[in-house]
């Protein structure tokens, strides 16, 4: 047989690596396209009379809605297969993680299924976003005290 160290080397030798360059390029293109669509939407909302600050909120809401819809239609995961981080990093990825969990657990009931499992994927993001936001807020508070 083989010891742990040698076998780990063997695994490494035989395991194909993810095509990082291709993945990065696709993520850049898809992520950039989503951001560009966001900018166009923002301009449109401003054109139709929205305040600049409100238009960004409207863009976020629109992207979340479209991601949720595409997830429900079963299209989102097919795009994300190529886009990778391009769809994961923007708010689209967050919407997808929540909606896909909800769809998945629907059959287990509204309380114990959807209710308790809707944030299984998004949960860590929510927790640590709030935690790091709070810590930064405290630091910011003390910095402003002395300046």
């Amino acid at each position: 047989m083989e010891n742990s160290k040698d076998y780990k080397k063997r695994i490494k030798r035989h395991t194909p690596k993810s095509p990082i360059f291709k993945d990065c390029l696709l993520a850049f293109v898809f992520g950039g396209a989503i951001s560009a669509i966001g900018e166009i939407l923002a301009s449109l909302y401003i054109y139709f009379g929205a305040e600049e600050q409100t238009s960004y909120t409207l863009v976020t809401v629109t992207l979340i809605f479209v991601s949720a819809l595409l997830t429900g239609l079963g299209v989102f995961d097919n795009i994300a297969r190529y886009a990778g981080a391009g769809t994961l990093v923007p708010v689209t990825g967050f919407a997808n993680s929540v909606v896909s969990s909800a769809i998945d657990t629907k059959a287990e009931g509204l309380i114990l299924g959807v209710g308790s499992k809707i944030f299984t994927v998004a949960g860590p993001v929510i927790l640590y976003a709030i935690l790091s936001g709070s810590i930064l807020g405290v630091i910011y508070y003390f910095v402003t005290l002395f300046s």
Binding site: M1, K8, I11, S18, F76, V121
Partner: protein, 335 residues
């Protein structure tokens, strides 16, 4: 101590059947399957219930092929990948056959055939029994990985859990296919925690069993050594190790090796990365491809080892390595 049991009176495959879903149907073996449901749902509302129904349909087909009724069977051994093996118990309890639930991860197909052969060959009261194994892609993804519609990328070493089932009826009535020997496998540390590289985690288990088996058997008598679901990565590791570590027969053993996970799908048109996996993979490939070949006399003697990755989502997140296991059965052509 690990021992190989050679059966004085062989156990025969009296009937067998394979069912599968959409991807399996459009794969290279699809036309050999007895039943394909392109919706993957088999008339049910959830994928968990679909797997249970698929197992039920499959055993029904196997029974009908030989004009048998459930009361002709003394025992049923079955297993799947769902928690507590509910697909097997839930799908098959309506037959009313005494039931033994099995869990060997993806090695369950061989485990079931082994347990059943042992019961039939040593007992006078048991004359005929069935072994059913199934897995469902959606049920497994939901249980082990992420929600189905979640948008993520899979590693190149990841495998595709088959939506498939294999049902086998073994008995003492003569047929062209017989089990003549079996050997349980040992659980072997796979030295990895990577759930997207199960082939690597199981290759050592397969190597250990093949190595033990051929210490007292001559590979020249064999036409094929078939592993369950090592995929590209695991198969390459296994063949490499056979060539390097077994000086006398290694090259021969490596040349005899093939893997069910490499046969179920078409790598050019189906996005399955390293290959097929799941207990339904080896079970359905055995029933749709290998047994018909033996029945026609195209293969005379083979060693069949379904490979299992022993782990749970908790064991992996708590830092345990994945274990590999590969029980073995020897299947031969009977004139």
């Amino acid at each position: 101590m690990q021992k190989i049991t050679y059966l004085e009176k062989p156990v025969y495959f009296e009937s067998y059947s394979a069912t599968g879903g959409f991807e399996e149907g459009r794969g290279p073996l699809g036309k050999n399957f007895d039943f394909i449901d392109n919706s993957d749902l088999f008339g049910m509302k959830t994928c968990e219930k679909a797997e249970a129904e698929m197992a039920r349909i499959n055993l029904n087909i196997a029974l009908k092929k030989k004009n048998l009724s459930p009361s002709d069977l003394n025992v049923l051994v079955a297993g799947d990948l769902q928690n507590q093996c509910v697909a097997s118990s839930g799908g098959l309890f309506t037959f009313g056959i005494p039931f033994l639930g099995l869990y060997g991860a993806c090695s369950t197909c061989t485990e079931g055939l082994l347990v059943l052969s042992a019961m039939l060959s040593t007992s006078k009261t048991y004359t005929r029994g069935a072994s059913v194994t199934s897995s469902h892609n959606s049920a497994a993804e939901r249980q082990f990985r992420t929600p189905l519609e979640y948008g993520g990328q899979r590693a190149p070493s990841a495998q595709w859990t088959a939506t498939a089932s294999g049902a086998f009826i073994l008995g003492k009535e003569k047929s062209h296919i017989k089990i003549t020997a079996f050997m349980p496998g040992k659980a072997i540390d796979g030295y990895t925690k990577d759930q997207s590289n199960m082939g690597a985690a199981m290759a050592l288990g397969a190597f250990d069993s093949i190595n033990s088996f051929f210490k007292e058997n001559n590979p020249d008598e064999f036409d094929l050594i078939m592993t369950g679901d090592l995929g590209h990565v695991g198969s390459n590791i296994l063949e490499d190790m056979l060539r390097e570590k077994i000086t006398r027969y290694g090259t021969k053993l490596a040349s005899l090796h093939n893997d069910c996970g490499l046969l179920l799908y078409d790598f050019d048109t189906q996005d399955v990365h390293s290959g097929a996996s799941g207990c339904g993979c080896s079970a359905s490939v055995l029933a749709s491809f290998i047994l018909p070949k033996i029945e026609r006399g195209e293969l005379r003697k083979i060693l069949f080892l379904s490979t299992g990755a022993l782990m749970s989502t908790s064991s992996v997140s708590q830092g345990d390595n994945i274990l590999g296991i590969a029980p073995a059965i020897q299947i031969e052509y009977e004139e």
